[in-house]
């Protein structure tokens, strides 16, 4: 029993990593209708910027804040310069652009900072709590807390602010939104900026334990996609719960199912995506799609 609980705790800890990036994916999807395959790489790049600032002598808090601001601006710039020209195009073209971005950002990071891995300073307290034999790292608890807070803020943004409403409208129906006076271009830029900021947050949260290198987010991406799918691509809290579910499922499966073992854990998100999409395509918390016939 104790082992099971420990596994669940471990699963939630790793699931928080998936959920963090999933939040950024959900945000970009909710506000722009685009799935951004380069979200993870953008997050990695932002984390490197933060690292560079710390190496340059800035205290961690200042470095993080500055990195967040730069990421926000960067995200807006990417939308304006790179995505805007293909905005009206079909989904596939946009997909290829984000794939191109993936390759570009990954290589650029390698060229600027090299390919070796390095440590990243921890913003959250270190150490482990031991509750009756079950170990939980304080850092993991901290990540969970941050995620919940961010999720709450996103909820407020989308449901209670004009900006959030504008974003949802622009994503759903740009033409009509323009007609009612929403500046779709500006809204999209803000959406990308926020998503980039969330990505940066995810990066600096997970880099201390994953260690920073250009492939920081490469492996996380598919798990985060699975988390977003499970939770519903337009639900921030879905992203987090989805992440936890995947983390726990993966940890349990790795332990209890011999076939999966330690190396086939990638099958877990695959299976989950399949099942979710066949049984309940909108995910646990996503809103149902309405398509006019």
């Amino acid at each position: 029993m104790e082992r099971f609980v420990q596994l669940v705790i471990d699963g939630i800890a790793i699931g928080s990593i998936y959920g963090a990036l999933a939040l950024a994916l959900v945000l970009i999807f909710r506000s722009t209708g685009i799935v951004n395959f380069s979200q993870g790489e953008m997050a990695m790049f932002s984390t490197f910027i933060a690292w560079g600032l710390v190496e340059g002598g800035l205290p961690l808090g200042v470095a993080l804040l500055l990195a967040f601001v730069l990421s926000f601006v960067g995200g807006m710039a990417v939308e304006r310069v790179l995505i805007r020209p293909v905005e009206g195009a079909d989904q596939l073209t946009i997909l290829i652009v984000t794939l191109g971005l993936f390759i570009l950002i990954n290589s650029a990071a390698g060229w600027i900072w090299g390919f070796e891995n390095r440590s990243f300073p921890r913003a959250l307290p270190g150490g482990t709590a031991d509750v009756g034999g079950i170990r939980v790292a304080y850092e993991s608890l901290g990540i969970v807390a941050v995620l919940l807070a961010v999720s709450g803020l996103l909820f407020l943004l989308f449901q209670r602010t004009k900006l959030g409403l504008a974003m949802r409208a622009a994503a759903a129906n740009p033409a009509s939104s323009r007609l009612v006076g929403i500046s779709v271009g500006r809204t999209l830029m803000i959406g990308w900026g926020l998503a980039a900021l969330l990505g940066a947050l995810a990066g600096v949260l997970v880099a201390p334990q994953l260690f920073l290198d250009v492939n920081l987010m490469g492996g996380v991406l598919v798990y985060s996609f699975a988390a977003a799918t499970l939770g519903g691509f337009d639900s921030p809290k879905g992203a987090i719960i989805g992440g936890w579910t995947i983390g726990v499922a993966e940890t349990l499966a790795g332990d209890y199912i011999d076939f999966i073992g330690s190396d086939l854990t990638i099958l877990v998100p695959l299976a989950i995506i399949f099942v979710v999409l066949l049984v309940r395509p909108n995910g646990l918390f996503g809103s149902p799609e309405v398509v006019r016939a």
């Binding site: 082992r3 492996g219 996380v220």
Partner: protein, 405 residues
């Protein structure tokens, strides 16, 4: 359609004879890739993709060739080392090999990196009778059957040798050790694990749990968690630097305190121990075969100084503390010595030299010679145990010879 084909004409080089090594076999003319002024070498490394950290080896090698060229080259011939990126993908490595041999007409291939990549090209390279030298992988394939692939030779102590060293260490220090193993799910990890399991056969040392991971995984914390619960008292860590760091960090968060054996590839102070914190690395055991740039005992060593100065001059962006640079440097030195021993400017003559080496290279550990013979296809077969004392790696005992065959 026609336009596209015509557009590629500028890149055409008319049909040549697919010469390979047939050209200078009689000793009269030189082979392709070597003139009075120049020797052309070719290499394929992963400069991009998940294994891109290994590309640094190429930089260290180039720095050494630049250093040698500055002093006049080998017998008045400057070495030009053409490197291509293969992203650690075997088909690209094969394309690179074809290009280097057929288009760039290199004299020999040097230090191609990666087990699957070299497996992908060695049939072709041997068919072309091009020397395929000092490949950057520790697989045991390269010396097993010299007759099948006479032009191919490895360099570093192979993983089986390394595993034997660990096995012998445990048999002596902890004869009833219960070992938990974390290993990378590819040739490197499986080779080392296999060698270890073979070497401990029949002794009191037992493997009680083994967990693989893929380089595409974000973290190994789950695997390490499982291993921590396996009841083992020894941990064999067969990982590459990023994952080595993750493993050590994860263990530090648990109350598992095993005897920690870390494989040579993951033992870098810069890349692994510093990021996790030296206090978490105290007591870790590993092996070494060349002089670690970060070991203070070599600070005044002449060979080490030469390495640092040259790296600063020819590759200022490189980090001299990164062991991959030292690896490339030392391998390149071996190449240069082989070229110096080559009697005629032909590939056959180069292979002659390569198969009869007996070298003492300054940046290798004292006494660790690089030796080959027509029957011995493993240039380096000795390693020394080292233990991390919280500040530095301390070499222990003597060089251990662990023949691969």
């Amino acid at each position: 359609m026609l336009v596209t084909v015509l557009a590629l004409v500028p890149a055409a080089c008319g049909r040549d004879d697919e010469g390979g090594g047939g050209g200078g076999g009689d000793g009269a003319a030189a082979d392709p890739g070597i003139t009075d002024k120049e020797i052309k070498l070719g290499g394929s490394y992963p400069f991009s993709g998940p294994a891109s950290a290994y590309g640094i080896i190429g930089e260290g090698a180039k720095a050494h060739f630049d250093f040698v060229n500055e002093k006049g080259g080998v017998d008045g011939r400057k070495i030009s080392f053409e490197t291509l990126d293969d992203g650690y993908e075997p088909p690209r490595a094969l394309q690179n090999a074809r290009r280097l041999i057929q288009q760039e007409k290199v004299f020999a291939l040097f230090n191609t990196l990666g087990t699957p990549n070299n497996l992908a090209i060695w049939d072709y390279v041997n068919q072309q009778k091009v020397p395929h030298l000092f490949v950057a992988t520790g697989a045991s394939d390269w010396g097993k059957d010299i007759d099948a692939h006479p032009y191919t030779i490895g360099w570093q102590p192979n993983y089986v040798t390394e595993a034997k060293v660990y096995a012998d260490f445990l048999k002596k220090e902890k004869p009833n050790a219960k070992v938990a193993v974390l290993y990378q799910n590819d040739g490197f990890g499986k080779d080392l694990l296999g060698g270890f399991e073979d070497a401990i056969g029949g002794s009191g040392v037992k493997v009680v749990d083994k967990e693989p991971y893929n380089v595409t995984d974000p973290t190994v914390s789950a695997q390490v968690g499982r291993l921590a619960r396996s009841g083992a008292d020894t941990f064999l860590n067969i990982t590459t630097p990023k994952f080595s760091a993750q493993a050590i960090a994860t263990i530090a968060k648990t109350d598992w305190k095993p005897l920690h054996i870390l494989n040579n590839v993951g033992a870098s102070k810069t890349l692994v121990l510093k990021p996790v914190g030296f206090e978490n690395a105290k007591g870790i055991v590993s092996t070494q075969y060349f002089k670690d740039p970060e070991d203070p005992q070599w600070a005044d060593d002449a060979a080490m100084k030469e390495y640092r100065d040259a790296l600063k001059k020819h590759s200022p962006k490189s980090n001299p503390d990164d062991p991959f640079n030292m690896y490339g440097w030392t391998a390149a030195q071996t190449m240069v010595k082989a070229l110096e021993a080559m009697e005629e400017p032909t590939r056959e003559s180069l292979m002659e030299a390569v198969r009869n080496l007996d070298l003492d290279i300054g940046t290798m550990l004292p006494g660790n010679k690089i030796q080959t013979s027509p029957d011995d296809g493993y240039p380096i077969e000795a390693m020394q145990i080292m233990e991390f004392d919280g500040e530095n790696w301390k070499l222990q005992g003597e060089l251990i010879q662990a023949e691969a065959q």
